[in-house]
């Protein structure tokens, strides 16, 4: 099973399927009988403007699989970079990007996934943070309903560093964000948050694997979302604490609302612990909007759609409040409001 090879060799047998335990709820082999032709390159006019426009001077664009392959932030430097991943048409493409953040440097990465058509795409990112380096990643993904997209991120965190991400998505035909983080501990911290708003027949899978390899690390995860129509939301989170990684404090929460009888939410929050001096916990809830609260708000004169939107905003808002980059959080909030208005 190797998605990159599946695309390069156009071999559907390499696609992950429901028989692969980690992909049981995001079956690609059952969905795609053949791999589409490679995508053709995109001209600048087809790329347009992204959702983070104006928040940073520097912008990287990966369009239909082509774009820059490396980004290096020098030690001590502070930078904000926009990364746009744009897919158009009905082809298949994959790209890999390497990001290095030098010692003590700070990177704010504003990432967007746009378009999609009916393409199959893979974006792989390798992110290395040297000692004391930090990175905050904000992701907005709003793809066409026929797109199939996978984004894989491998993070190498170092001592005293910090990695934080907030992924917001409206899903696709099949979509997966997989974050794998190697957490060395040593006073380093990680925050992995997510929001999904799914309607129609869309699907979104937020998967994370955090491997604590050293002592005194912190991980905090909060994912919230709702599924309407015939959509399907998948949350998989695994926290591993290796032998010797004492003093780890890891928390994970996933809260989902199902708004329709034909929507589905699947969750698997895992803990894998090989050290005894740890405090690890996870919580997962799935439920419907509270009828009593809705009733109360309607009694106060709010229209039902407004009441539902208000509840949704307060439910998802807690994730947005955890974003450090204030201008980014503002942009994310209005992005979210525009979609909740349409989605709830």
């Amino acid at each position: 099973m190797n998605l990159d090879e599946a695309i390069r060799l156009r071999d559907p047998a390499q696609l992950p399927s429901r028989r692969d335990e980690d992909w049981r709820w995001t079956d690609l082999r059952g969905l795609l009988r053949t791999i589409p032709e490679p995508s053709s390159p995109l001209g600048p006019q087809a790329i347009g403007v992204g959702p983070f426009e104006g928040l940073a001077a520097e912008s990287l664009v990966v369009a239909n699989g082509s774009g820059p392959e490396t980004l290096r932030v020098a030690p001590g430097e502070t930078r904000t970079v926009i990364l746009r991943h744009v897919s158009r048409g009905d082809g298949a493409h994959s790209a890999r990007l390497r990001i290095e953040v030098g010692g003590g440097a700070r990177l704010t990465l504003l990432e967007s996934h746009e378009g999609g058509g009916s393409s199959l795409s893979l974006l792989g990112v390798d992110l290395t943070l040297e000692d004391g380096a930090s990175c905050e990643r904000l992701v907005l993904a709003d793809l066409d309903p026929e797109a199939v997209a996978v984004v894989e991120l491998d993070v190498e965190l170092s001592a005293g560093g910090r990695y934080a991400q907030t992924v917001l998505t409206t899903g696709a035909r099949r979509q997966r964000f997989e974050t794998r983080l190697r957490h060395p501990g040593l006073r380093s911290e990680a925050r992995l948050d997510g929001v999904y708003i799914l309607a129609g027949r869309k699907h979104a899978d937020l998967t994370s694997v955090v491997r604590h390899t050293g002592p005194d690390g912190r991980t905090d995860q909060l994912t919230r979302g709702f599924a309407d129509g015939q959509s399907r939301a998948v949350f998989q989170g695994r926290i591993t604490v290796q032998e010797g990684a004492d003093g780890v404090d890891a928390r994970m929460a996933h809260n989902a609302l199902i708004l329709s009888d034909r929507a589905e939410v699947d969750a698997r929050p895992e803990l894998e612990i090989y050290a005894d001096d740890v405090a690890c916990a996870h919580g997962a809830t799935v439920g419907a909007l509270d009828d009593d609260v809705l009733f109360y708000m309607r009694q106060r004169g709010l229209a039902e759609t407004d009441a539902r939107a208000l509840l949704a905003v307060s439910f998802l808002g807690e994730v947005i409040e955890r974003i450090d980059f204030a201008a980014g959080a503002e942009r994310v909030r209005s992005w979210l409001l525009a979609r909740i208005g349409a989605g709830v």
């Binding site: 589905e264 969750a267 405090a279 996870h282 919580g283 799935v286």
Partner: protein, 489 residues
């Protein structure tokens, strides 16, 4: 806290595994290996009708084409299924008719294990003391079932599976394999082909079973496995509480125990199924020997408002692979799972439950307490799912893991699948070690470190112990203490 005091006293004079003795008794065996002839041999020994043999043989064919599952978080060398004996029974003259015909060595075994096989012994207590009927299974056969007459007066059928196949074929044919299909999984399929004995219970409509029923499983013979099959049917509006205990001698070889337990609860019926599993866990230092406990247990809440509760205390076995489940089919049916799983030494446990909500308004509750010590590994694996028709389904799950020592492991792998807009699932899990502060406090009060650990552990598992029937709760509490022997310091 008399129970805690009792535990401490118990631990003081303990061997490491007190049930590890072997009973010298003349036995007969099936020839080593597994093929169609072995299956036919077992069926013949049990004097089974043709339909039963055909059922077994079909299962054997299906099993031959299956592969051993590898998804559980346990590791063991491949099992050579040809290098074992699939039938071992004490030699007897046409099966014991009464207790007097049973080999005295076997009676002594049960006496040593503290299992009352003589009805009068049970009655000898104070009037009104709780009584329980016992089906004693020794390797592949049931040696005796007590209180059958009194139970029969209430209409309750309680006998060994072999007897049920002969005496109540209509019930067996109707329900056997209806909860756990023959090809459900590798080990259930193997069991369907070679199952030996186990208990059969039928409680007629509206009857509250007058006493606790229990089965005591004992593996004695070397080089053999135990493949019991238990079937419990609670007809409309009935109630039954069933207890299961198990032990085995200490041996250097690994022995396979692949059981299938099927429960059927019809309308308004309730089944309470409790297990205290204390198979030989293997040598704590070398990991040699011990039982492979690969068990399929499932309850079908077929009727509306039916209720099944699984309570398990898992302390033994080298490897445990077991997920007692509830299929909540009837409207407003209820499934419960309470579990304590303790691993020490080099034990491995991958255990949990499945709550499958199919009917409207179904509810389930899962409380799992895992404790790992030594170099052991303890995994909770569970599934809670609500199907589109299960509107109003509710689940609450709590899994807590406690780690004692630097080299043990605890894992939590819950699967949650919600497929309608009117279900409420809540899941919470924690993994911690024993609190230093609490230990310090207990030690300050004069308890030794070992005593302090036991006190805290007893508190940790209390919610589950409360669900056990009285007699079992005491035994289970002692077991918790024994299992943690040597885990401190």
């Amino acid at each position: 806290m008399p129970a805690v005091k009792d535990t401490l006293e118990q631990v003081a004079g303990l061997e490491k595994y007190e049930h590890g003795f072997v009973t010298e008794v003349e036995q007969e065996f099936a020839p080593r290996g597994l093929d169609r002839d072995t299956v036919a041999f077992i069926s013949r020994k049990k004097d089974e009708p043709d339909w039963m043999l055909a059922w077994r043989l079909e299962a054997f064919e299906r099993w031959s084409a299956m592969e051993s599952p590898d998804w559980a978080r346990v590791s063991f060398p491949p099992i050579d299924y040809q290098d074992a004996t699939y039938y071992a029974a004490p030699k007897a003259k046409d099966g014991p008719a009464s207790l007097d015909d049973v080999d005295p060595e076997i009676l002594k075994t049960y006496e040593k294990l503290g299992i009352p096989l003589r009805e009068q012994e049970v009655l000898a207590g104070v009037t009104g003391a709780p009584r329980y009927a016992v089906d004693a299974v020794f390797d592949s056969v049931s040696v005796v079932t007590t209180f059958k007459k009194e139970l029969a007066e209430a209409g309750v059928i309680f006998c060994s599976m072999s007897e049920a196949v002969r005496e109540h074929p209509e019930l067996v044919r109707k329900y056997l394999g209806s909860v756990v299909p023959v090809t459900d999984n590798f080990f259930a399929c193997l069991n369907s082909a070679v199952f030996s004995d186990g208990s059969f219970v039928y409680v007629p409509p509206g009857v509250r079973c007058p006493m606790e029923l229990s089965t005591y499983f004992r593996i004695n013979a070397a080089g053999s496995g135990q493949f019991e099959r238990t079937l419990i049917i609670a007809d409309k509006g009935s109630f039954v509480s069933y207890l299961e205990g198990c032990t085995a001698p200490m041996r250097d070889e690994n022995q396979l125990h692949a059981a299938v337990v099927e429960l059927v609860a019809l309308e308004d019926a309730e089944i309470k199924y409790s297990t205290v599993q204390n198979w030989y866990p293997g040598d704590p230092e070398t990991g040699k020997g011990g039982i492979y406990n690969f068990v399929t247990k499932r309850a079908d809440c077929r009727g509306d408002r039916s209720r099944v509760s699984w309570t398990q205390v898992e302390t033994g076995s080298a490897i445990t692979w077991k997920y007692p489940s509830c299929v909540l089919r009837g409207r407003e049916s209820v499934g419960e799972f309470y579990s304590i799983a303790i691993t020490n030494g080099r034990q491995q446990a991958d255990t949990g439950t499945k709550m499958i909500h199919l009917g409207e308004g179904t509810r389930s509750r899962i409380i799992s307490k895992g404790i790992s010590a030594g170099r052991s590994s303890n995994t909770y694996r569970g599934l809670v799912s609500a199907h589109p028709k299960a509107r109003g389904a509710r689940n609450f799950t709590q899994c807590d893991s406690l780690l004692i020592g630097k080299s043990c492991a605890a894992h939590t792998v819950p699967y949650i699948e919600a497929r309608n807009g009117a279900c409420t699932f809540e899941h919470e899990a924690t993994t911690t070690r024993l609190s230093e502060d609490q230990l310090f406090y207990a030690r300050q009060r004069g308890l030794s470190e070992e005593e302090a650990v036991q006190l805290l552990v007893n508190g940790f598992v209390r919610e589950v112990l409360q669900e056990l029937p009285m007699e079992f709760a005491v035994e289970a509490q002692k077991l918790v203490a024994i299992s943690l022997e040597g885990s401190v310091g």
